[in-house]
């Protein structure tokens, strides 16, 4: 922690609670603009529910398109929270402190958003209930637990519930802080949410032990969720390109790649918008970029392994599909964009120390990753359905409609809208973690150099 600096608790409160106690001027116009986009999106979803899926470009044989691509994309983004929060908490990585809350929050809101896409995609959302809830005892029809389409909502609901509770427990000390800094209805609001938090040694111990325990419990859930999402595809033998044994780890590592990149995007925005230069520092971006280089390279290995496993079997339809994905127009263009934005450009940038410490460049490189990762999901889902197969007389029929494109961009506005609403009432950076870093921090002299150090309890 070479860039550690001494910040007192009053300054930490004043700066990190500026979103709640002194709302920035840009907040209201931004939220109103996003709110209008969100409202238009809901109106269009209403039209789609009313008219049916005919207003989309979905048709045989491409029955899974932009909606399912975007669903997988948001589930992937949601993996940021637990990856960052749980792994770094368990490994006691000091640089986790300003990152964890935003990452957990991104998990919750991106999962909420992801869940909306299968509902929209169903065309008649209320019918989803038929295959989730035991509904017709008279005919003895029950949810089919053998179907990955049941496993998926079960896994995502588990992850969403766990992440939300994790977020709330970690918020308790900061809710106590907000209770102490507010008056009137706000004080009453935070007093109820803080549950009478006082900050005695028992409560701090439970906060620490509970955080580690919840991290340990959430990690296997995080791995299972994207594995199960991948099985939506991988257990379907009828579609070339989907039926792959490598999909579970491939999806998980891809999710970590896109999720951690989304955290970088979010941290850069938080630093700029709320002016948190003292707390979100270049060293944090540097650490995240180093982590991302490893994750991205692992992900690239899986991408090519998936390709090699597909081609090695010399199965003619599979080879034709790969030929189409990589060499035929327009898929070849998408493939090149996907490889360059998903790996070559960002990792090439992150290898330079000057880029890792440049927040603007880190912001743009993280956006590249998520363009690439969205395209990756599109390239997995659509070509296998679009390729002409024997006895099929329609193919390559999918042209996403304007409504589908709008709903894709609507989802970005929706997540941002939710994040900004949250930021109005709750701190995006855990204050007690920052203060703990100051309490446990010190500097030691080694030879003639004085270096920052951190005290760590053995437990």
């Amino acid at each position: 922690m070479q860039q550690r600096r001494t910040i007192d608790q009053i300054h930490t409160n004043r700066v990190l609670l500026n979103g709640q106690l002194d709302t920035p001027k840009w907040w209201a116009p931004t939220v109103i603009t996003l709110g209008i986009i969100v409202a238009i999106g809901f109106f269009l979803i209403g039209i789609m529910v009313n008219k049916g899926l005919g207003v989309t470009g979905l048709s045989r044989p491409v029955y899974w398109g932009l909606f399912i691509t975007t669903f997988v994309f948001w589930v992937g983004i949601s993996h940021a929270g637990i990856m960052i929060s749980a792994i770094l908490r368990l490994s006691q990585a000091e640089w986790r402190r300003p990152v964890t809350r935003a990452a957990e929050l991104l998990t919750v809101f991106s999962l909420l958003t992801a869940l909306m896409f299968p509902l929209m995609h169903a065309g008649r959302p209320w019918r989803i209930i038929y295959y989730i809830v035991p509904y017709d005892f008279a005919r003895g029809i029950m949810p089919n637990v053998r179907s990955p389409l049941i496993w998926d909502p079960v896994a995502i609901s588990t992850y969403l519930t766990g992440s939300t509770l994790f977020l709330y427990i970690a918020l308790l000390p900061d809710l106590g802080n907000l209770r102490d800094r507010t008056t009137g209805w706000q004080k009453a609001f935070y007093t109820i949410l803080a549950l009478g938090w006082r900050g005695n040694p028992r409560q701090w111990k439970l906060q620490t032990v509970g955080g580690i325990l919840l991290s340990a419990l959430m990690l296997p859930i995080f791995v299972s969720v994207h594995s199960i999402v991948s099985w939506d595809f991988a257990v379907t033998p009828a579609v070339e390109g989907w039926h792959s044994t490598i999909f579970a780890p491939y999806f998980v590592i891809g999710a970590v790649h896109s999720g951690v990149s989304a955290v970088v995007t979010m941290m850069a925005l938080m630093r700029w918008l709320w002016k948190w230069e003292d707390f979100i520092r270049p060293e944090h971006f540097d650490a995240l970029a180093r982590l991302l280089i490893v994750v991205a390279t692992g992900w690239l290995a899986f991408t090519f392994l998936e390709l090699i496993f597909a081609v090695y079997g010399l199965d003619a339809p599979e080879i034709e599909l790969r030929d189409m994905q990589i060499f035929q127009w327009p898929w070849n263009l998408l493939f090149v964009v996907f490889v360059f934005t998903g790996y070559i450009i960002p990792v090439g940038m992150w290898l330079q120390k000057s880029v890792r410490n440049n927040i603007a460049l880190m912001f743009w490189s993280s956006l590249f990753v998520n363009i690439g990762m969205w395209l990756e999901r599109f390239m997995i889902i659509v070509p296998g359905l679009a390729r002409k197969t024997p006895f099929v007389y329609t193919w390559e029929a999918y042209r996403p409609s304007g409504l589908e494109w709008f709903i894709l961009f609507w989802s970005l506005a929706w997540v941002t809208f939710l994040m900004l609403l949250f930021s109005r009432f709750f701190p995006l950076v855990p204050l007690f973690e920052q203060k703990e870093s100051q309490t446990f921090g010190d500097s030691i002299k080694i030879g003639r150099a004085r270096v920052p150090a951190i005290v760590r309890e053995a437990d």
């Binding site: 637990v145 588990t158 519930t161 766990g162 308790l172 802080n177 800094r181 009478g196 938090w197 439970l206």
Partner: protein
Amino acid sequence: MSKSVLGLYDDANQAADAMDALKAAGFPLGTFDVLTGTPYPEGAFGEHVPQHRLFRFPAFGAIIGFTLALFLTTATQIAYPLVTGGKPILSLFAMLVILYEMSMLSAVISTVVGIVIESRLPNVNPGVYDPRITEGLIGVVITTEDDQADTAIAALNGAGAMEIKQA
């Protein structure tokens, strides 16, 4: 009638001295506590190290979740016995997925309940408190009988309290 007395300190050493003074004055462990706005190393104030039973909660929760999931997956498949490819009605691999997720869900929920209960929350009558504790001051709080309050105040003042509050 019991009384709650709070001494505020801006230095951790003084707060530790206050805890020692209360012990020396004969107040039993458990009647006084230290309040901070951030975690301190365990035992920094010479306080009683709190014991907890948090680890029992996830184990208990996982057993409940597993049992419920076993019932749900078995009952639904038996209720609609669809034979697929001559395989047994109870599809173990598919059941494992649901068993795993529901066990974990229940373990997480019970852990959160455990954290709340073991933290002695919700605390509807938190007693004497000062908002400056979340700004860096350290509070040493004691709950005692009225006739012992003066002894407690003397001990807290003796350690250099910058302010005493009573409720």
